[in-house]
Subunit: 228 residues, 2 copies
DNA sequence: TTGGACATAGGGGAATCCCCTACGCCACGG
DNA sequence: CCGTGGCGTAGGGGATTCCCCTATGTCCAA
């Protein structure tokens, strides 16, 4: 963990805490952020534990958290922070290109979600956006989520999985267990064609493009269900 | 891709090419390396294709390659480089603690293997070690490999995923990212039929019965890898 | 009673899955 | 120095799935 006091002179820089278990990423972000005239890294942490210590020590204006930390992961940390520091905004950082985590992160109270694949300047954009009390997500993720929440704006509370019909959810669950279309049809005493219909509608409702993506989400969901 | 010419004055800095699909990591490494008096980043690339271009354009003394690139992964690039530039040393960088990759990398001709979890200065150590014609692996990886060599299973052997061929593992990984058979074929510049062959062999080796089960395991594996 | 939402299911072409076979390398052991 | 076997590559061809449309019956609420 490294502290940085270079905002003493200007006195009005926004203080950023960086939490990531990869020192290289931490360092990269720190150098990037410290180059800005209105931002300064006030601390770094490599895990949730260190992050809590660092926050109480350095009082950041915003926290950038990698989602896949060792030990308690970024989502855990985020939930923890929501309890202790409700007004401290959090930008989640992720290796994942999928929006699965974006949803979870935002639902858990993050103010932004950005992937490491994106250009570095997007991180700065996201930080500033969040500091001005807006929410940042990449265009792709945003459009997908917007698409999903048409009709129920305002309260971004429930997963779109909740929109699934009982039958659809059943099929979704079985997909997540790795079952074949044919197997599912037999287990539910349905025509293969019917199961195909459900799969199509699930893809529609979850804005997924291929059967492969559908499986990906179903499996990820089933994993998170087990530990929930 | 960014070029950097600041070695004009001193004239004897070692030129480093950085290959990673995360701009933040590239930038972090670049800033880190460029701070050294004897090293300079001569170029960056985000994938294997760009790496080949950058190498012929900037003639690096050493290449730092992330193992999990999009499209052809770091191992592929490494093998490719071994054919084209046998004397160009490569330091493999990885998110994974798994020694599967370390062994594969070294066997494929890498001069070093380091994890992003390690301190940033280890990267510099590794680079200098390699530039002086030595091989670098972290103590942790080294001891683990030794343990395996000795054959004493202190910890139970990793899953049979370690039995997968480099190519098979690559396909497995892309399946885990939700990619389609066709997409994988295109990304790896292979026939769809070849990709199908790999899938069949993976299923065989992992004792899986259907493509669905294969996807399930691939996705689960990719999740656990990312947050390992 | 008319419009949805939901469960069910078929048609048909494209993409896969799945089981086999095959061929060129290249390393390693006999 | 020649097998033998692992590895990467790839095709044939039938069985399934995928994917986009359409369709019917049911129940419930407006």
């Amino acid at each position: 963990m490294v502290m940085n006091q270079q905002n003493a002179s200007s006195g009005k820089k926004s203080r950023v805490l960086v939490v990531d278990d990869h020192p290289i990423v931490r360092q990269g972000l720190a150098l990037l952020i410290n180059r800005e005239h209105d931002l300064v890294v006030c601390g770094e942490a490599e895990d949730a534990q260190a992050a809590l210590t660092a926050i109480s020590a350095s009082r950041p204006d915003i926290t950038v958290v990698d989602i896949s930390l060792d030990g308690p992961d970024g989502l855990e940390l985020l939930k923890n922070l929501r309890g202790r520091y409700p007004s401290l905004p959090v930008l989640m950082l992720s290796m994942h290109d999928e929006s699965i985590y974006a949803e979870r992160a935002l639902r858990a109270g993050a103010q932004g979600y950005i992937m490491k694949q994106e250009a570095t300047d997007k991180v700065l954009v996201a930080i500033r956006r969040i500091l001005s009390h807006e929410i940042y997500v990449s265009d792709r993720v945003a459009s997908r989520m917007l698409h999903r929440y048409i009709g129920s704006p305002g309260a971004v509370e429930q997963s779109s999985i909740a929109d699934l019909t009982d039958r659809e959810l059943e099929v979704f669950r079985l997909i997540g267990k790795g079952h074949t279309t044919r197997q599912i049809a037999e287990e539910l005493h349905l025509s293969v064609k019917t199961v195909e219909s459900y799969q199509a509608r699930i893809k529609e409702k979850l804005s997924l493009r291929s059967a492969r993506e559908l499986m990906q989400h179903a499996i990820q969901w089933s994993i998170s269900e087990k530990s929930a």
